[in-house]
């Protein structure tokens, strides 16, 4: 069993000595310092020990040596008397690696907080600059590719489109359908109070076409494709694949970023259209249940009352949102440095930033459409 470490200060022939026995290992010295601190009022030593006597010590390791040295008043060159050569060697090794007891880092939370705020403001500023820089680079590369269209690499674009469009159809369809049902149900509930429940059709049509279809799709795409872009490019960055590309003379913007942006630019309107149709279907299903409408009545009323520009406004936003999501996803992927940890951090950041940008742009579009009167 672990025998506890025992120590006492004695005098041997006029020399103050620290005498230790028992086990002095990392597993046995627990609580030693706390007990000493409790006994602080009773001064244990009048004089610093000139010798450490460990002839009674059974087991010893570096942690035990550190503890003994501390008890001896921190004297790094105090001689030691040991029974075994190994223990004396251990003392010598620890003493020769002269360690200063590191002090606890002092924390001032106010200045820490201020520094953090300052750092994040500077970070945001630098981020915006870097993002503008990145957009500029994309435009330059795109212009270069327009001059030589074969540099657009259609096969890569098609492969990305499969990932971001076909593979997303199911989830976008289901979620938009459910939102259509929910809006129709709420519309019926509220409008029935004025006897105007047939206006539910307009509520569903305008709501889905103008805002909800495109916003919901954009948020889903940011969560599944934007994050995937960051993770893919970030992992390549960690593996130095991006550096390898540069040394071979391939431009990562052209090879990694452009196909993804073009794929999402083309896929987003297709996905939004699909989402709109699913949303309308959901609304129609809800109306047949709550309003005794038939499908024909629902779509006839939709055709008569919801103007085509409601549909267009949503579809105009789609490619812009797609581009911004892809660009932010790729940008954050290229920001990855060094460790795998930063892939995770930047993936989170890419999703947050792209959803933020999508909603801000949506507000901007609302103002533009308001001024344009559509």
């Amino acid at each position: 069993m672990v025998s506890t470490p025992i120590f006492k200060y004695v005098e041997q022939g006029g020399t103050p000595v620290l005498q230790a026995s028992g086990n002095w290992t990392v597993f046995s010295i627990r609580g030693l310092r706390r007990r000493r601190r409790l006994n602080r009022d009773r001064p244990p030593v009048r004089q610093e020990p000139r010798l450490i006597d460990i002839t009674g010590v059974e087991r010893l390791d570096t942690a035990g040596v550190l503890e003994l040295l501390q008890l001896a008043g921190g004297g790094r060159d105090t001689p030691v008397r040991a029974r075994e050569q190994g223990q004396a060697d251990l003392f010598r090794v620890v003493q020769s690696h002269n360690v200063q007891t590191p002090s606890e880092p002092h924390v001032n939370w106010i200045s820490n907080w201020l520094a953090e705020v300052g750092h994040s403001l500077v970070d945001i500023y630098l981020q915006i600059i870097a993002l503008c820089d990145f957009f500029g680079e994309i435009l330059v590369v795109t212009a270069g590719a327009l001059a030589q269209p074969k540099r657009f690499r259609p096969s890569a674009i098609v492969r990305q489109m499969y990932e971001v469009w076909i593979a997303a159809l199911a989830i976008v369809g289901v979620l938009c359908f459910l939102i259509g049902v929910v809006i129709a149900y709420q519309g019926v509930q509220q409008l029935r109070q004025f006897g105007a429940e047939t206006f539910t059709v307009e509520a569903v049509g305008v709501g889905i076409f103008r805002e909800l279809g495109v916003l919901l799709t954009a948020i889903i795409v940011a969560g599944r494709s934007g994050s995937a872009f960051t993770a893919q490019i970030g992992t390549m960055q960690v593996n130095q694949e991006v550096d390898a590309m540069r040394t071979i003379g391939l431009n990562p913007i052209e090879w990694l970023v452009l196909p993804r942006i073009l794929a999402l630019l083309l896929s987003m309107p297709l996905l939004v259209f699909w989402g709109n149709m699913a949303g309308l279907l959901g609304g129609a299903v809800a109306c047949t249940i709550y309003l005794d409408f038939t499908f024909v009545q629902f779509f006839a009323r939709l055709r008569d009352t919801v103007g085509i520009w409601n549909f267009y406004t949503g579809m105009i936003k789609a490619p812009v949102f797609g581009m911004i999501i892809a660009a932010i996803g790729c940008f954050e992927g290229l920001q990855v440095r060094g460790s795998a940890e930063s892939v995770g951090q930047l993936t989170t950041r890419s999703v947050v930033e792209s959803i933020f940008c999508v909603i801000v742009l949506d507000a901007v579009f609302s103002i533009i459409f308001l001024l344009a009167g559509v």
């Binding site: 290992t25 990392v26 597993f27 010295i29 627990r30 609580g31 030693l32 310092r33 706390r34 390791d61 570096t62 942690a63 550190l66 503890e67 501390q70 190994g86 060697d89 251990l90 010598r92 090794v93 620890v94 690696h97 002269n98 360690v99 200063q100 007891t101 590191p102 606890e104 880092p105 060094g338 460790s339 795998a340 940890e341």
Partner: protein, 274 residues
Amino acid sequence: MAEGGQLADHRNGRDVILRLRGVRTQFGDHVIHDHLDFDMFRGEVVGLVGGSGTGKSVLLRTIIGLNPARRGEIEILGTNTRHLRGKAEHALHAHMGVQFQDGALFSSLTVAENIMVPIREHAGLEEEAMRCIAALKIALVGLPPDSGEKRPSELSGGMRKRASLARALALDPELLFLDEPTAGLDPIGAAHYDELVRELQQSLGLTVLMVTHDLDSLYAVCDRIAVLLDKRVVAGTMDELLAYDHPWVQEYFHGPRGRAAATGQERKAASNGK
């Protein structure tokens, strides 16, 4: 051949720290080790070598317990690990230290905090005592004192290896495993590292198993060498292996690099003798 894959018996009455008997590992149908026997004795440094794909790292992972053996018995410090669960398994981890190839330091913690993780888990010392121990281990492995407050990502590859060794030594384990400790270090750094391992091994009384391809390390540090051949281990001193009749062993130790390392060692021994 003597017991435990040895060419000759080197036990000399020492404790058996590690004992493998009839170990078999496989992935799917691919058998990597079969009927593998291997012993390690207290206080020795054994180098584990083998061609690419012979399963050096797999053997290391099997011994540590990261990769279960399909068959056979593994005894570490006299404890059979096969049916070890819960507290007993947890306690055994306190007596083993592992340095992974790329450090495997926890990236969200500083180097000092990395070293304190095993101490906190197994010994539960006070913060101040743990800081002292961490500072000592950092000095022992030859890192500058200020590296304790750094994140692993701020260190160079060689420093990360040293920091990882410091974490492996946190609890003064009896058994230390090193996975390619000198790979990726410059020759001077690698030589210093060899000396460091030797010095720590002697002063702390460690038993060390190191996977390495560094022939200079094998000559400088290792008491015995274990070679993975035909899914089994053949272990012996350098002299025994130099005389061992197997084409891979012959090419490994008598090839140009093997000879260069041997002459380098002789020259060093001669200059020390003067």
